[in-house]
Amino acid sequence: MSEIRLPSLGAEMEEGTLLEWYVQPGDEIHYGDTIALLDTEKAEIEMEAFESGTIEALLIEPGQTIAVGEPIARLVSAGAGAPTDASAPTAERPEPRPAPSEPPERPRPEATEVTPAPSPAREAPKEWRPEAAARDAEVAPPAPQVGRIKATPLARRLAAERGLDLSRISGSGPHGAIVEADIPEAGSSEPAAPADAGTTGASTASAARPEAPTDASRSERRREIIAAAMTRSKREIPHYYLATTVEIEPAIDWLADRNRERAASERLVLAALLIKAVALAAREFPELNGHWRDGSFHPSEAVHVGMVVSLRDGGLVVPTFADADQRTLEDTMAALRDVVGRARAGRLRSRELGDATITITSLGDDGVESIFGVIYPPQVAIVGFGGIHQALRVEGRLHGTQPVLRATLSADHRASDGQRGSRFLQSISQRLRNPEQL
């Protein structure tokens, strides 16, 4: 017997609303099956099963909003006997995700391609767990509470560790939520009070919400999340910025040859080359690939590339392309088409919102020459690509023009220095000049 819990689908997610169950008690499910439709501030997200088995009970109703880490269903694991301990207290353990090497049992394009991201969590480096859920593992078990104070799980943990009363702390996050930066350092002059058991740990289910938020309210909430993340980034991360000009003609020519006479479904676009080039360079420069947590840098062995996708109604989402350095260009392109399309349709799947280890942002289609991104915490680097434009080329006494692309790097100076950042950008440039090697 195990419990299916609400996963964290990004560092900022604290709760989600069940919109629809795709399964019923008695249904057999397999790893990778979509089992529910969730509503988060970012989008509607199809939640996938992280474990195979038989649904024993559904614990929440559509319309109900619960905190990350809360149980939503009970599962009799595949191969397990009859349920014997339905009330086993496993609340302090978030739902683990299978190891990256474990393939989904149900074939599906991205399900076979997108393996779960490994966790940067200290205690289980080889096991993927959603970031916030991993943090929740260090928090006291959920406890019912009245008059809940809005605070992130990390802020709650820090407050509990430092003996601070959350009710006496002003929050600077979305809707006044208390975030990590609001928690005074231990030993500061902040008045301390014994932490109220009712305000530590994750919350229990809040009042049922009969309907999903409207597009307008979701858009507003999404903007608040972006605002909070970007404010935190600029407040906490000492960015440095580098730029280089990439000769993109070889890539354009290679794509034209590669795409000639191919069906639309087999075409590659430049974005697929950019993702692969960045992923390979990130593997070469580990100080740019990972997370800054708890005062130190934690490099990631895997390369999970986040790709900023602008939404048509404003705002953005950042789906993750897991193990992007190991995919073929064809795999990358297939995932790109599928994920970007669903991201804009508001139907991402839970595995696609895992923690990226580095992010790409591109405004190439919008005509700008360059973009310097704001690092998405806890990552330490973001690569920007502008649009292709013509630049003067001089060779001896010959003048001409050639298509070029501006590649930029915004990086965290705590984790890397400009020289390494410069070499990282040159690595990307060199790879794009040799697209046949991607």
Binding site: L255, A256, N259, R260, E261, R262, A263, A264, S265, R267, V269, L270, A271, S310, R312, D313, L336, R337, V340, G341, R344, A345, G364, D365
Partner: protein, 84 residues
């Protein structure tokens, strides 16, 4: 506009709405710019081309993408291909 091009316009609109369900049919005019008016980017256009290939059986060559910037361009290109 002939009945045939009207039918092709419908196919193009159907493909675009499949990729960008936030748009409505009334947003799509022959003169609409795929990028500036409808907000489609290069990945969207690949998906539109894929949907059109599925609906019409006509593949848009890579070299043509840069020239097809409006809804009407797509309609005209597909009409010409179907006639040839």
């Amino acid at each position: 506009m002939t009945a045939r091009s009207s039918s092709m316009l419908d196919s193009v609109c159907e493909a675009i709405l499949e990729v960008a369900p936030n748009l409505s049919r009334s947003d799509l005019q022959r003169s609409s710019s795929l990028h500036d008016d409808l907000g489609l980017d290069s990945i969207d256009l690949v998906n539109v081309a894929g949907a059109l290939a599925e609906h019409t059986g006509i593949t848009i060559p890579d070299a043509e993408y840069g020239r097809l910037t409006r809804v009407g361009d797509l309609v005209d290109f597909l009409e010409a291909r179907r006639s040839s």
